[in-house]
C-alpha cells in the first residue's frame, strides 16, 4: 500500500564529489519496499521545489531506506545540503516490484549512479541466485558501493572510462555475448544512462532468448499513476507509465528513443 510519511534523515553523506547516500527512517515504506520500487521525496516543505523527485531505493533494512543520488540540478543540490535529523516527506513504495527469482543466473549491468537500484536487487537475489555484476563509471571515485556488492556477487567486472580503476572503457565493452551464452544467463537487469541501455539492447539483439530489463527514468509528476506525465512508448506506439507500469521494463518491449530529450 502506498503511503506518505515524514521520514527523518539519519545520514546524508557524499560518496564522491556529486554522489550522495542518504538514509531515512521511513518504517512504513521500508516494511513494504521490494527491489525495483522507488520513492518520491520532497526536497523542501515549501513551494521552492514543488514537485517531489523520484529516487530508486538502494537499500532497505528494518525501518530504514537508503537512496543514492547524483546532484544533477537545483533540487538535488538542495537535497545534498539537508542534514541528519531533518524531516523529509516520502511517498512510497512506488512502481512494480521485480518478481522473486530462484536458482537463476542473473547479470546486473550498471552505469554510474544506476548502481543504486541494483544494490537493493542484489541484496535480495544473492540468497537464491548467482549474480554477475558488470559495473562501469567515469572514474574510480564514481565507482560506489563496490565493497557492499562484492560479497553478493559470484563475479564482478569493474570498468572506468578513464582507466583509473578496473578495465578501461565503458562497461558494455566487457559484457560479451559469448559469456552470456556459455554461462546460460537467465536474466539481465540494467540500470544506467539511456545511451547505455540503448547500446545494451542493440548488443543483445543476437541473444533474443535472454530477457533484458532496464530501469527507466523520466520527469515525473505524481509518481503514482495520477497525472500521466511519465511515459515511455511501447514498440507498438502506445505509452506506458514509468511510475506504475515500471520503472523496470523489458527493453525488447519499449522504444527507448521515445525517452530522448
Amino acid at each position: 500500500m502506498i503511503i506518505t510519511e515524514k521520514a527523518q534523515i539519519i545520514f546524508n553523506n557524499s560518496l564522491s564529489e556529486e554522489i550522495y547516500s542518504m538514509k531515512l527512517n521511513s518504517p512504513h515504506v521500508a516494511k513494504q519496499a521490494k527491489p525495483g520500487q522507488f520513492v518520491m521525496i520532497r526536497i523542501t516543505n515549501d513551494y521552492s521545489f514543488i514537485l517531489p523527485r523520484p529516487f530508486a531505493i538502494a537499500d532497505c533494512t528494518k525501518n530504514m531506506i537508503r537512496i543514492v543520488y547524483r546532484v544533477v540540478g537545483k533540487g538535488t543540490k538542495v537535497l545534498s545540503t539537508r542534514k541528519p535529523g531533518e524531516i523529509l516527506n516520502v511517498l512510497g513504495p512506488l512502481g512494480k516490484p521485480i518478481p522473486k527469482l530462484k536458482n537463476k543466473k542473473v547479470v546486473l549491468c550498471a552505469g554510474g549512479v544506476g548502481i543504486a537500484p541494483l544494490r537493493f536487487l542484489a541484496s535480495k537475489l544473492a540468497k537464491n541466485n548467482e549474480i554477475f555484476l558488470y559495473y562501469g563509471a567515469k572514474t574510480k571515485k564514481e565507482l560506489i558501493l563496490v565493497n557492499e556488492l562484492k560479497p553478493l556477487c559470484r563475479k564482478m567486472v569493474l570498468a572506468t572510462e578513464d582507466g583509473s580503476y578496473g578495465k578501461k572503457g565503458v562497461i558494455l565493452d566487457f559484457l560479451s555475448p559469448d559469456f552470456l551464452r556459455n554461462q546460460k544467463i537467465n536474466y539481465i537487469f540494467a540500470s544506467g544512462p539511456l545511451p547505455m541501455l540503448k547500446n545494451l539492447e542493440l548488443k543483445l539483439q543476437i541473444l533474443p532468448e535472454i530477457p533484458v530489463y532496464g530501469f527507466l527514468e523520466a520527469k515525473m509528476g505524481c509518481g503514482c499513476g495520477l497525472c500521466y506525465c511519465c511515459g515511455v512508448k511501447t514498440r507498438e506506439g502506445k505509452y506506458l507509465r514509468i511510475c506504475t507500469d515500471g520503472p523496470v521494463f523489458s527493453l525488447k518491449k519499449v522504444d527507448l528513443s521515445s525517452l530522448n530529450k
Partner: protein, 278 residues
C-alpha cells in the same frame, strides 16, 4: 461542510480536479472522503497524448503538457467505469470534444446512473491543431453547453479559461445555456526553454501552468465573476492548504478543486479536509 447545489449534495467543498487524479480508480480512500472527483478528460477516440517530457517545475508552479492521454469513451465505459460504480462520492466525467457533435456524443454515451455529472472541458491548453480554446469564444461556449444540455439531465459544469479572455463573458454564456456550475481557472498558457539546447523543454512545446504561482490570479477571477454573476463556482488554482481553500470560498467559490497539490501528495485532499474539520 455540506454543500448543496441543484440536485447534488457534496459532503464537503473539496473536489479532485480533472487531470490530477487519473480516472478515479486509484486511491479510493482519498476519493471517497472528498465532495467529488472529476476524471481526466475523455475523448471519443483513444488519445496517446503528447511526447515526453510532459512536466516541468517552475517557481511555485508546474507546467504540464499531457495532451489528454485517455483510453477513449468506449474503453472507458467498459474497463474503467465498472470499477467506479461503488464510489461513495460524486463522480464527474470530464468530456473533451473537438466539435459540438463530439461533445454531444460524449454526453449521450455518459448519460448513465453511476455518474453525478459532466464537466465540459472547454479549456484544455494541450491540444494540437486548435488555435484557440473553445472557452475563449463565448458563442462557442454557448453552443456547446446548449447542445450538451439538450442531451443530458446530468449536473453540468463548464470548465472555462482565463487565458486571453474575461471569463465573466464566457461564464455568462455558460449559465445562460444551461450550465449548473462553472469551473475556473484551469491552467494558464506557458512555455519553458532549455537554454543549452535552445529548444522548448516540453515535448508538446507549450503547456499549462498550475500551482501556487497562479493562485492570486485564480482568486481574482473568481472574485471578479462573483461580483456580477450568481452562478455556482468551482474555484481552483494552486490550492495546497486549508487556508487556500478558505480564500477561494471567501472569493466566492462554492466548491474548490485541488489540482497540482495532488501531484505533490496524493493524500493532500485528506490532509486539507482534516485541517478544515479542526
Amino acid at each position: 461542510m455540506t454543500v448543496i447545489i441543484k440536485n447534488l449534495t457534496f459532503k464537503n467543498p473539496l473536489l479532485l480536479a480533472s487531470g490530477t487524479f487519473g480516472l478515479g480508480d486509484k486511491f479510493l480512500g482519498v476519493i471517497n472522503k472528498m465532495g467529488g472527483i472529476i476524471t481526466k478528460g475523455i475523448t471519443i477516440e483513444e488519445r496517446l497524448g503528447n511526447p515526453i517530457p510532459r512536466i516541468f517545475e517552475t517557481p511555485s508552479g508546474i507546467l504540464n503538457s499531457v495532451g489528454l492521454e485517455n483510453p477513449g469513451i468506449k474503453k472507458f465505459k467498459t474497463t474503467i467505469l465498472p470499477k467506479l460504480t461503488k464510489l461513495q462520492t460524486n463522480l464527474f466525467i470530464n468530456i473533451a470534444g473537438s466539435s459540438v457533435d463530439e461533445f454531444t456524443i460524449l454526453a449521450t454515451e455518459l448519460d448513465v446512473p453511476e455518474i453525478a455529472g459532466l464537466e465540459i472541458n472547454l479549456s484544455c491548453p494541450n491540444i494540437k491543431n486548435s488555435q484557440r480554446l473553445p472557452a475563449q469564444n463565448p458563442r462557442l461556449v454557448a453552443k456547446i453547453v446548449a447542445a450538451v444540455r439538450k442531451k443530458t439531465s446530468k449536473f453540468l459544469i463548464a470548465k472555462l479559461t482565463a487565458n486571453f479572455i474575461d471569463p465573466l463573458i464566457t461564464a455568462q454564456a455558460a449559465v445562460d445555456n444551461g450550465a449548473d456550475a462553472i469551473s475556473l481557472i484551469n491552467t494558464l498558457y506557458g512555455i519553458a526553454f532549455d537554454v543549452k539546447t535552445r529548444k522548448p523543454i516540453l515535448g508538446g512545446i507549450t503547456g499549462g501552468l498550475s500551482g501556487p504561482a497562479i493562485k492570486p490570479f485564480a482568486l481574482y477571477c473568481i472574485w471578479h465573476i462573483r461580483q456580477k454573476l450568481d452562478v455556482p463556482i468551482i474555484g481552483g488554482g494552486g490550492i495546497m492548504t486549508a487556508n487556500d481553500v478558505k480564500e477561494f470560498l471567501l472569493a466566492g467559490a462554492q466548491l474548490v478543486a485541488i489540482g497540482s497539490g495532488n501531484l505533490v501528495d496524493p493524500f493532500l485532499g485528506l490532509k486539507i479536509l482534516k485541517e478544515l474539520e479542526e
